[in-house]
């Protein structure tokens, strides 16, 4: 099923809120698709989900789980 814009925005907001995506200093609101895919990959790996870089059902379900409000420290470097 194709995701609606609201679902995509919710996912990006999540990735932003918890430190998987960093807003650029220039203030551009849009992220490149490859940046979002990379952030999703890191989130999936840190969450022990299948790493696809896609906003699949398992990833969206994990984003809805109750959690702590602090940012996550994960990126490709820390995961290594």
């Amino acid at each position: 099923r194709a995701l609606g814009p609201a679902e995509k925005k919710a996912a990006v907001d999540y990735l932003l809120q918890y430190g998987y995506l960093q807003k650029s200093l220039e203030g551009q609101d849009d992220f490149r698709p490859e940046d979002i895919m990379e952030a999703l990959r890191v989130f999936q790996e840190a969450s022990e989900l299948p790493v696809s870089g896609q906003l699949d059902d398992a990833t969206r379900a994990h984003m809805k789980q109750p959690r702590c409000g602090l940012e996550d420290p994960f990126n490709q470097k820390t995961l290594k």
Binding site: E48, H62, Q65, P66, C68, G69, F74
Partner: protein, 409 residues
């Protein structure tokens, strides 16, 4: 694990500013206390609750709107709580969550509190999904315990919990290797005669008198039943030299010979008893002085001043008692600061009260038995008939559960 910072001290205070509305306060408080215990069990950290004033770690519940927090919560689900890193100390929980304890329903307060305290102590999120410090709540676990990654993280910040690394115990040496041999109890003493071993204003404002193998409480209206010392404080011998409770640390220290025992309430602290090696053995008395939050130890005509939470330089001790406490006799039996804020010294059958200038007040010494133990004043004719061990007092011992409950309360 990830480290975000650390406290520069290991003995922290905390204050619970409010509690969730849908969980009983007793359950909620117990959950928060247990959350602290998870960390203090594996690292040389202590946490002391304060009811008022400033605290290092402050826990509170707020909803979507809070005038005191810029990070608003989002209603039930999603974000459950957040915390500041050291040395800020704020720990906030979402009031809108269904906080629970002991059930799979709702969100377990104990586990979330332990997670947020991990942040408050300096831990970031762990990538181990089964770790307490994982970012996502993994649900209620009846037999919850810290993940090795949690333990490794907190020990990277504060070290391992072991007697050798406790700063406050440097003045004491290794744990005794020879177990104490249980002995037959001495005859039950008569609170109305003879000399006390120790007096202590203990936790919850209770006054304890120690003599031989027995202890009893003293109130304004009378005295409580006699208990074996070891019945209240398991592992503690009778015939103590001194006893002192510190409201600063919640520690009770008992001294006998060259050994010291530490209890919190009625539970002996791990690693005790220990051997005294920087203070002389066979102390006479001990007291906690709230004005400077120090413990004073007395022997003969001298005293030592001890800071429980800092390395104390004892090289200038003992100092003469008379230099600090004017008019107090040497060779004390007992001493304590009492709930009226005054310092009392006991010796033989008499006691002395000090004024705010630490001078013995006019009209002292007075009679311990009459004023403290609620005994009738003895005339010369009756003194000879009241020995140290009388049958009448022997008959008052109570070891029933109900009586035990009342003193343990």
């Amino acid at each position: 694990y990830l480290l975000l910072g650390r406290w520069r001290k290991k003995h922290l205070t905390f204050r619970i500013l409010n509690l969730p509305s849908r969980l009983s306060s007793r359950t909620a408080r117990a959950a928060v206390h247990q959350a602290f215990n998870y960390w203090s069990n594996v690292a040389p950290l202590t946490f002391r609750e304060v009811q008022a004033g400033w605290a290092d770690i402050r826990l509170s519940f707020h909803g979507r709107q809070s005038p005191y927090c810029s990070n608003k919560f989002d209603g039930p689900g999603r974000v459950l709580a957040h915390a500041d890193i050291p040395e800020l100390g704020s720990v906030h929980f979402d009031e809108d969550e269904f906080w629970t304890e002991g059930t799979y329903q709702g969100v377990n307060l104990r586990i979330i509190a332990a997670h947020e305290l991990g942040h408050a102590l300096g831990l970031g999120h762990s990538r181990y999904t089964q770790a307490l410090m994982a970012p996502v709540y993994a649900g209620y676990r009846p037999y919850f315990e810290l993940h090795p990654d949690d333990v490794a993280g907190i020990q990277a910040l504060y070290g391992k919990k072991s007697p050798e690394t406790k700063d406050e115990e440097k003045e004491e040496t290794e744990v005794l290797t020879v177990p104490l041999v249980p002995t037959e109890p001495s005859p039950m003493p008569n609170p109305c005669s003879g000399e006390l071993d120790a007096m202590m204003l203990g936790p919850h404002g209770k006054t304890y008198a120690f003599k031989g193998d027995y202890v009893w409480t003293v109130t304004n209206s009378g005295r409580g039943p006699l208990f074996r010392v070891s019945a209240l404080w398991e592992g503690l011998p009778g015939n103590l030299d001194a006893a002192v409770y510190s409201p600063r640390t919640q520690w009770i220290h008992f001294f006998k010979g060259d050994k010291v025992w530490r209890y919190i309430n009625f539970k002996m602290s791990p690693g005790f008893p220990k051997k005294l090696n920087r203070v002389e053995p066979n102390l006479d008395a001990a007291l906690y002085w709230p004005l400077n939050q120090k413990v004073f130890l007395f022997k003969g005509s001298g005293y030592w001043q001890w800071d429980e939470l800092a390395r104390t330089d004892f090289s200038r001790y003992p100092k003469p008692i008379k230099e600090l406490f004017t008019g107090v006799p040497d060779q004390l039996s007992a001493a304590m600061s009492w709930q009226d804020g005054r310092v009392y010294f006991f010796k033989g059958k008499e006691y002395w009260r000090l004024n705010w200038q630490l001078r013995v007040e006019k009209g002292y010494p007075q009679n311990i038995a009459h004023n403290w133990m609620h005994c009738p004043l003895q005339t010369p004719a009756t003194i000879s008939s009241v020995g140290d061990e009388t049958a009448s007092v022997t008959g008052t011992i109570l070891s029933t559960p109900s009586a035990m409950d009342s003193i343990m309360d």
